[in-house]
């Protein structure tokens, strides 16, 4: 690069210079990048510890330039609790998929949120188990075909998809909870703002914060990357409305 040119778009420092293992069209990479950008912007990389999930995000520690713990399936909020309680000076975040957070780890996330643990959760909801090959998740849409719902999710047997952001918002303990999506540039910008806000609340030691991110899984949905973005908007978004569900500031403090 000569003196008359300068980079206007670079890899965040918090992100390693490596190729991710994610499938073409998967939006995990975008979400990773947004988190890395926020860590850079706040200058907190050196005091951040991430807690990874089990699922497609399990290798997240290969992509971030921060300390990382790999949690058992669903238990990231418990690890984050232990870590943050004994080292409150750290910035701690968990990165969890919908099988991890909304199925096997429901107890851990609900109680961490209810105790008001001061860490941040990035919850990636793509309505399916990706890593294990496309099985039905608690977030799988009614009628959605997966390898374990080959005739489509039957709500008579399996119930309706769990809306985690709404469910967690019923808790009295102050928290910041927002749902965003990453299927269009405008939504990505909004998602970034939400993730920034979530970390800001943690930096201010204010509350538990969780951003649910609607994400795609072209491989297991059996769609092209473009069709996937469309399916997210047409099928998932009406059931999983975007927006802020809870902030500590608007809380009724009875």
């Amino acid at each position: 690069m000569n003196e008359s040119t300068h980079a206007i778009f670079t890899r965040p420092q918090s992100f390693r210079d490596v190729v991710t293992h994610y499938c073409p069209g998967c939006t995990h990479g975008i979400i990773h990048r947004l988190v890395a950008e926020v860590l850079d912007e706040f200058g907190i990389r050196g005091r951040t510890v991430g807690v990874g999930p089990v699922g497609c995000g399990v290798f997240i520690y290969n992509y971030f330039q921060t300390d990382f713990l790999e949690a058992p399936h669903g238990r990231a909020p418990a690890l984050a609790t232990g870590l943050k309680r004994v080292r409150p000076e750290l910035i701690v975040f968990t990165y969890q998929g919908d099988g991890d957070l909304a199925s096997i780890g429901t107890a851990e996330i609900i109680h961490a949120a209810n105790r008001g643990e001061k860490f941040t959760t990035i919850f990636v909801n793509n309505a399916i188990y990706g890593m294990t090959g496309g099985q039905m998740a608690p977030t799988t849409m009614p009628g959605q075909i997966t390898t374990t719902s080959p005739r489509g999710r039957n709500v008579e047997e399996c119930g309706y998809p769990i809306r985690m952001a709404e469910l967690l918002s019923t808790l009295r303990t102050p928290a910041y909870i927002e749902r965003v999506a990453v299927h269009t540039p405008q939504n990505i910008i909004r998602a970034k703002k939400a993730i920034r806000k979530a970390f800001q609340y943690q930096i201010d030691n204010k509350c538990f914060s969780l951003v649910e991110v609607l994400s795609t899984c072209p491989t297991n949905w059996g769609l092209t990357p473009n069709e996937s973005l469309n399916w997210l908007e047409k099928t998932m978004q009406p059931y999983y409305p975007l927006g802020v569900f809870k902030t500590p500031d608007t809380e009724e403090q009875k």
Binding site: V51, G82, A107
Partner: protein
Amino acid sequence: MTRILMKGNEAIAEAAIRAGAIYYFAYPITPQNEVGEYMARRLPEVGGVFVQAESEVAVGNMLFGAVASGKRAFTSSSSPGISLMQEAISYMAGARLPVVLINIMRGGPGLGGILPSQADYFQSTKGGGHGDYRVLVLAPSTLQEAVDLTMLAFHLADKYCNPTMVLADGMIGQMMEPVEFPENYAEEPVPPKDWATTGCQGRAPVIIKSLNLDPVVLEKNNLVLAEKYKLMKRDEVRFEAYKVNPKNRILMVSYGTMARICQTVIDELEQENISIGLLRPITLFPFPSKEILAEAVKPNIEVVLTVEMSMGQMVEDVEAAVRDKKPVEFYGRTGGIVPTPEEVRDYIMKILAKETPTVKSWKG
């Protein structure tokens, strides 16, 4: 040093604080609730943290997060609760993390009962969770020893970067005895915790994990663990020999509360000129196999008798240690029943009269 009369569970709690473990995560379960109650009151006084978790599953994983950051943290629980922690124990063993677990055993299986038992020997000493790993297990038989071993447990956990358990029965947890805490507690140096996730400012990022999809790498991790267990077997075997001498006709092997009852029996029979020695394992893993064999093969020993508050668990390690060189007998009660000296004595008399029962059908 002053002697204080304390309840076992509270003495263990205070011992942990004296060893510098001021982070405690737990879920209520009988018969060890006094540990958590003591910690809830005491930890704020010493700048520590007490978290009552939503489950023992969460407890294990909170510990995972806490010890990964390099701090001394621990939990206490009882049998069913320890079962729920096996997930995290396996992960921490795989990730080579130093954690201390106190198990105040109650009767099982299942919900079992709340009275003292030694039925978790297998679970504690043979791994407990999935995968190829061991937990270092310390078994106190007095409250003073419970204090000393609890403090030692933190040292050994740090020394080997390995889950370490203090395995006591409900009797140890519930009874009261005088104890002393060392005034100026000093430890041998432990390896620096340069592996801890404390934020990567000024150094390369640290990753603590147990996933290794490459079998060569995973086997390598298991080989490192295996080397560690070999070192424990070489350097950490602890036991007490009670009235062990060449005149012994029977070598008893027993641990914890049960060993104290055996000592009473040994003292009584000594008056009747029946010489019996007791080898009391203090570390259950590593197990004092060599020491048991060395005593068992002595010419006067007719039988090796293992007595447990279980239907026979440690006896399998005793049998392996004795290698068929001498007959191994077993006596045990379980489900919360603690054998009395009289019934142990009766069994010994049967052994000496060669009247011990044969195996019964499971149908009764």
